[in-house]
Assembly symmetry: C2
Homo-oligomer: 173 residues x 2
């Protein structure tokens, strides 16, 4: 899953909803975490696959979209700022920016005050592309989640937000 598709589907049969049945009570916590993780993983991969296809229709990719969307919010960020925001390594950002520059979506300039810094700016072409994609992207995501009831979506957002915060904290320490 790439992003990719899957992980440990095999360690726990998880079709429909039979995952945590007839398990002694003292063992319930752990397997349920595995099952939740599996489902999260599969949702992630299915959604990502759809969004990838949509991005491909616009002749672009998710990584480029992420770059452009970040620049739309704040133009002229340095590579390391982008690396932090996009949660990928600096080397990876170098490549994404290079390909985007090759395709005329961004341009790089060296900061004259600190010549280590490479700032990235949207070109007209890049701005036009991201402007056109943003609304559609929001619509697409909305469509993918449309079958989830409003209440469930709210609680999903809350719990995932908490989980994310915990994971971020533990990653730091």
């Amino acid at each position: 899953m790439s992003d990719r598709a899957r992980f440990l589907r095999s360690a726990l049969s998880d079709s429909a909803d039979t995952a945590v049945a007839d398990v002694p009570l003292r063992l319930r916590t752990d397997p349920s975490a595995l099952s939740v993780w599996l489902r999260l993983l599969e949702c992630h991969n299915l959604i990502l696959g759809q969004l990838r296809k949509e991005a491909a229709k616009d002749g672009t990719s998710l990584a480029r979209f992420d770059l452009l969307a970040n620049l739309m919010r704040r133009d002229g960020m340095t590579l390391s700022e982008l690396s932090r925001r996009m949660l990928v390594t600096a080397g990876n950002v170098t490549g994404i920016v290079a390909r985007s520059e090759r395709d005329g979506l961004v341009r790089r300039t060296v900061d004259p005050l600190d010549r280590r810094l490479a700032r990235v700016h949207l070109t007209k072409r890049g701005r036009k592309l991201i402007d056109g994609m943003t609304k559609k992207h929001a619509r697409d995501v909305g469509a993918l989640f449309s079958r989830v009831a409003e209440d469930d979506r709210a609680v999903l957002g809350r719990v995932l937000g908490e989980l994310r915060d915990h994971l971020r904290n533990e990653a730091r320490s």
Copy 2:
């Protein structure tokens, strides 16, 4: 992030929990989907990063682990069966199996009854590796989810399961 880190963090500021504040009511449904998706994405990437590091300690990777875990459940699957289970393309499976075979974890045999089929079997070394990793993996996942309350984890599992089923259905059609 694949597996990667992010997506559209920039289209909607999403720190802590301020995402859906002061938005006109008629617009609430869509942005909330985006925000939920963002959080799901970030959880996915943070967890995947941790698990990747754990797998690296055993000298392996998530893709290989997925392959081995599937084979542990049913040895001798064909590449296309594995491709379906792992939710990746057939070409990708070819590569993962090739590298795992190179490292002595699996071996491939041609089915004599239908010589198009390549069946993949665990070697002793592969079986030993996956046996040793499975428990630790479950523990690691449990630790990552340990801060989520039992009730929240249950509802998270339920909603993600429903979402996954909807996504699978719509992907088919």
